[in-house]
């Protein structure tokens, strides 16, 4: 498959602060590519530059053969954007919103009407189409927000954290929609700070942190970077001192890395079962009560931890 997106050394600076530090990557037609990173990593800024909202400080990107800096109007015709924040007119109904945005993408007449009804069906809001958006639940609004991005059948769809702040049911519906769209042939660039979403949806993942793309590849390729390791996760009580326990692990063989997030200690090890006994012993020695223990296969969280020394939620 040819590349639909090619990014070359994209940089965005705000005064002295560099939000995006020369990232480069490509996306092939038909792929779901996720940019995974914590809040403030530069995901939204990257999407803003690729969607021509912000001009890059340097570098360039081509989408469907059009440069975002030289041919922004051609790029806009080729892309659909689902922004992180709801960008809808709440006093208009879902149908009126879709009609307006369809018109902004050059649709008109019966083509517009048909496409609006099609999208309303796709996002499951045909029966509520006449209601004003302000009367919708958060999940329903998110679905309209996605619907707007689909109206003109873009070649590449940017979805910027579309599941932030919604209930699990709506989140599931959105993830299913993304998969359906991809099955229909749409290429998707999806940003998230939820590892599970990236794992479930993506053909390839780019991990971004502090404006740098620190790893890129399929899930398998990325987890290989961590090696054949497992993650042992200890949940300790709220009154306990997990950092003291991590310090005690320094002399335990086979513990490659140990990090604390809130009251959770993640231990990266070649064999979780081998280190389980000494870990529990160290906890008992210090009188630290362990509430529960999970053993996890290598995942993107572990990759991020391995690459940055921090958890995605940090």
């Amino acid at each position: 498959m040819p590349n639909i997106l090619e990014v070359q050394d994209l940089v965005k600076k705000y005064g002295d602060f560099t939000a995006v530090k020369g990232i480069s990557f490509t996306i092939k037609e038909g792929e779901i590519f996720s940019l995974l990173g914590p809040n403030g990593a530069g995901k939204t800024t990257t999407i803003s530059m690729l969607s021509t909202l912000y001009a890059p400080t340097s570098g360039d990107a081509t989408i469907a053969g059009h440069s975002v800096t030289k041919n922004p109007m051609d790029v806009r015709n080729a892309i659909g954007v689902v922004p992180q924040e709801l960008a809808l007119y709440e006093e208009l109904s879902a149908r009126e919103n879709l009609i307006f945005w369809g018109q902004m993408y050059g649709l008109s007449g019966s083509a517009l009407k048909e496409r609006v009804e099609e999208v309303l069906g796709q996002i499951g809001l045909l029966d509520k189409a006449k209601d004003r958006v302000k009367t919708y639940s958060g999940g329903m609004k998110r679905r309209v927000n996605i619907g707007v991005g689909l109206l003109h059948k873009p070649k590449l769809l940017f979805m910027d954290e579309p599941t932030v702040g919604i209930d699990p049911q709506s989140r599931r519906a959105i993830l299913d929609t993304v998969k359906d769209l991809n099955k229909q042939g749409m290429t998707v660039l999806y940003t998230t700070h939820y590892m599970e979403e990236a794992e479930e949806l993506s053909d390839r993942v780019g991990i971004i942190d502090h404006g740098e793309l620190i790893a890129i590849g399929t899930q398998k390729e990325l987890t290989k970077q961590v090696g054949e390791t497992e993650t042992l996760v200890l949940h300790v009580g709220e009154n306990e001192d997990p950092q003291a326990l991590v310090t005690a692990f320094k002399n335990v063989p086979d513990i490659l890395e140990a990090n604390v997030v809130d009251h959770e200690i993640s231990i990266i090890t070649p064999s979780a079962t081998d280190v389980l006994a000494p870990v529990v012993s160290k906890a008992n020695e210090r009188g630290i009560k362990i509430h529960s223990i999970d053993i996890r296969e290598p995942n993107l969280e572990a990759v991020f931890l391995h690459l940055t020394g921090r958890a995605l939620r940090d």
């Binding site: 960008a87 307006f100 707007v148």
Partner: protein
């Protein structure tokens, strides 16, 4: 162009679906007009224009009866509360009084005025018509309402004389041509006509307590609401334009402006659409208020074409103010605060509450920066029977003001890089 139009239409729809905005755009001006109408006695039949003792200087150089009849009219009991005439002998001195803003208008009745209308004996012997001599009304441009009232009184006086003159002369000429009367008999008939004309202005009850005629001849009362209603509509028009301006920044904050910017719509189309939306909302608001007050209060706004053109010019100018405060502000809340302050200040300065003629000259001068004052002049002129042709000054002023403000706001928007990062 189509997208600009569509964005504008969308904004009108949004504005008229916002209940809070509707209260300010339509309900508030209606209620305030109604309230002020009640205070001024408009609805109790005890109507008062709120305008009294209009200073006017009259120079009567005519030694005939009609000149004196006009002087008597201004001295009549009927107009005692409305006008405060003084009399002079020098036209130039009278004009100076106007120039110095001592009076609202000077009426100069030239010598031979009566003779130009009522021919001397023997004038019909050769069938020639007497040469016209015109009364000069020298109006004070800074007191358009008062000057308009004086003009209306003079117009009323002249129209009654003209009716009698044309009818009489036509009759006598027809009798002469047909040979039914001799030139000597025509003189006798002329004397009779003279007698009737001399009696005409005084005998008939001059309905000139603020009466004038529209272009189509319809009699029209100057209604205090014709001043109050546009005053209130113009004041709340300033709310509408600031509301519209605020929507530009609000769209930025709520993400719809960035979403528009990543659609195949360029920033000029978007900005143009927003401006068009503000303009259109203002026009619709004004037209609803005009229609509503016409229906509910039986208010006659005057010449329809003049009203429409004046509304367009006033909204254009007001939109310019809305754009400039939007270009200067950083947040929607700032536009809202500045817009509310502007609405009130412009309302007061522009004469929405108190006639500008009752304000000090400095305030009258400052008031000219407001669209309210120019538009109110125009609406008053129309209510007094003026037509579009009488509105060149306020319309030119409004369009110029709007144009300058638009230019300045476009430059400011460019500097702020509001829509394109």
């Amino acid at each position: 162009m189509l997208k600009t139009f569509l964005i504008g239409i969308k904004d009108v729809k949004l504005a008229f679906r916002d209940r809070a905005a509707l209260i300010f755009m339509l309900l508030a001006p209606f209620l305030l007009t109604l309230g002020m109408g009640l205070v001024t006695g408009r609805f109790s039949g005890n109507s008062s224009s709120g305008i009294s003792d209009i200073p006017v200087v009259i120079v009567n150089q005519d030694d005939g009866d009609l000149g004196q009849a006009l002087v008597d009219t201004f001295n009549s009991q009927d107009l005692a509360d409305l006008v405060e005439p003084t009399f002079g002998s020098e036209p130039e001195a009278a004009r100076s009084m106007v120039d110095e803003d001592q009076v609202a208008a000077a009426i100069i009745i030239p010598a031979g005025f009566t003779n130009s209308i009522i021919p001397q004996q023997g004038a019909f012997n050769n069938g020639a018509m007497p040469e016209a001599v015109k009364i000069e009304l020298y109006a004070n441009p800074s007191r358009p309402t008062s000057a308009g009232i004086i003009k209306a009184i003079v117009d009323e006086f002249l129209s009654r004389i003209e009716e009698g003159t044309v009818g009489g002369q036509t009759s006598i000429l027809q009798l002469l041509v047909s040979g039914r009367i001799t030139p000597q008999e025509a003189n006798a008939a002329g004397e009779e006509m003279t007698k009737r004309l001399q009696d005409a202005p005084n005998n008939s009850q001059l309905a000139i307590t603020l009466n004038t005629s529209t272009a189509d001849g319809e009699e029209l009362d100057f209604d205090i609401l014709a001043y109050l209603a546009p005053g209130m509509a113009l004041m709340f028009l300033m709310f509408t334009v600031s509301y519209g301006g605020r929507s530009i920044l609000a769209e930025k904050a709520q993400g719809t402006l960035p979403r528009l910017l990543v659609s195949p719509t360029n920033s000029m189309q978007i900005l143009g659409g927003k401006v068009f939306g503000i303009f259109l909302t203002g026009v619709v608001q004004m037209l609803i208020l005009i229609g509503g007050t016409s229906l509910l209060f039986q208010l006659k706004w005057g010449d329809s074409l003049g009203v429409i053109v004046l509304v367009l010019a006033a909204v254009f100018s007001a939109t310019g103010w809305g754009m400039i405060i939007t270009a200067l502000a950083r947040t929607p809340a700032q536009v809202g605060s500045v817009g509310s302050a502007m609405m009130l200040i412009f309302g007061i300065l522009g004469g929405s509450f108190i006639s500008l003629e009752q304000m000090p000259p400095l305030i009258q001068t400052i008031s000219r920066i407001t669209p309210n004052s120019w538009a109110l002049d125009g609406f008053t002129t129309l209510a007094l029977g003026g037509t579009l042709s009488n509105l060149s000054t306020p319309i030119t002023a409004l369009l110029t003001m709007g144009g300058v403000l638009f230019l300045a706001s476009v430059l400011l928007f460019g500097k702020k890089n509001l829509v394109q990062k």
